[in-house]
Amino acid sequence: MPLADVSETYADLVTAVFSSTIAAKAWLATAAIVLAFVQVTTAARMWGRLRFLPMRGPIVARVHRWSGRIAFLCTLPVFFHCVTILGFRTPDTRVAVHSLVGTFFYGVFAAKVLIVRDRLLPGWALPVAGATLASTLGLLWLTSSLWYFTNVRFGF
């Protein structure tokens, strides 16, 4: 399949659900940021914080894992559009910051996944990695979805 057809097919698929590819990115990133919030709160619960949350033990861990998996899936179409179609751009500060932070996102994600699995690392490593990942996603959302909702339109 020619490369140009891939982006056409992608656009056709996305616009079958959303009004535009940009709107799709904005909403998928919003879903990811909501799930990232779930990630942070369940992680805090697992680390003995936020004791007022009713969930405990294995349920918290399960919610944490699945919210992370779904959040990751939500970011994949956004990654495809931003990285393989739009590329690294610096026309203004917002886009430059978004491009730079976006370049680091999956690197931080990969490091966090490895840190989760490495029980010999110091105890602070995982919270720092998780907070960095959530902050990175938050900054990406602020410089894309929030901008879209406030400057372009708020709708699907």
């Binding site: 056409e8 931003c82 690294f88 490593a125 372009v152 339109r153 709708g155």
Partner: protein, 114 residues
């Protein structure tokens, strides 16, 4: 190598790979199917269109009030450029200019192709 460096090294490699992929833009639509005859960028044009034109022409150019439907309209680059620059009906001239104009033209050419 100390164990603690592994996440940093792998993360760094992923960052480098992402940057290389972003520079390559392997799925960027190419001429002429995407309507880049005007030199504009379809995907950037989509954002500009949603911001500047969709309030009249509808989201995605499906038509609105008072803007006519642009999807499948068959308009070509010359007609679209002329309308943007000279205006038409209640549409004032020069709503978008420069790079924004080129990007919008590229986008409208794409959605206008039947």
């Amino acid at each position: 190598m100390r164990r603690g460096w592994r996440p940093i090294l792998v993360g760094g490699a992923v960052v480098a790979g992402t940057f290389a992929l972003a520079q390559a833009q392997i799925f960027e639509p190419s001429v002429p199917a995407a309507g880049t005859v005007s030199g504009g960028d379809v995907y950037v044009g989509e954002t500009v269109f949603e911001r500047e034109c969709a309030s009249c022409h509808g989201t995605g150019g499906v038509g609105g009030s008072p803007g006519p439907r642009l999807v499948d309209s068959g308009l070509d680059t010359r007609e679209i450029t002329a309308t943007i620059e000279q205006g038409a009906g209640v549409m004032p001239p020069g709503l978008v200019t420069g790079k924004d104009e080129a990007d919008v033209v590229a986008y409208v050419v794409k959605i206008a192709s039947p």
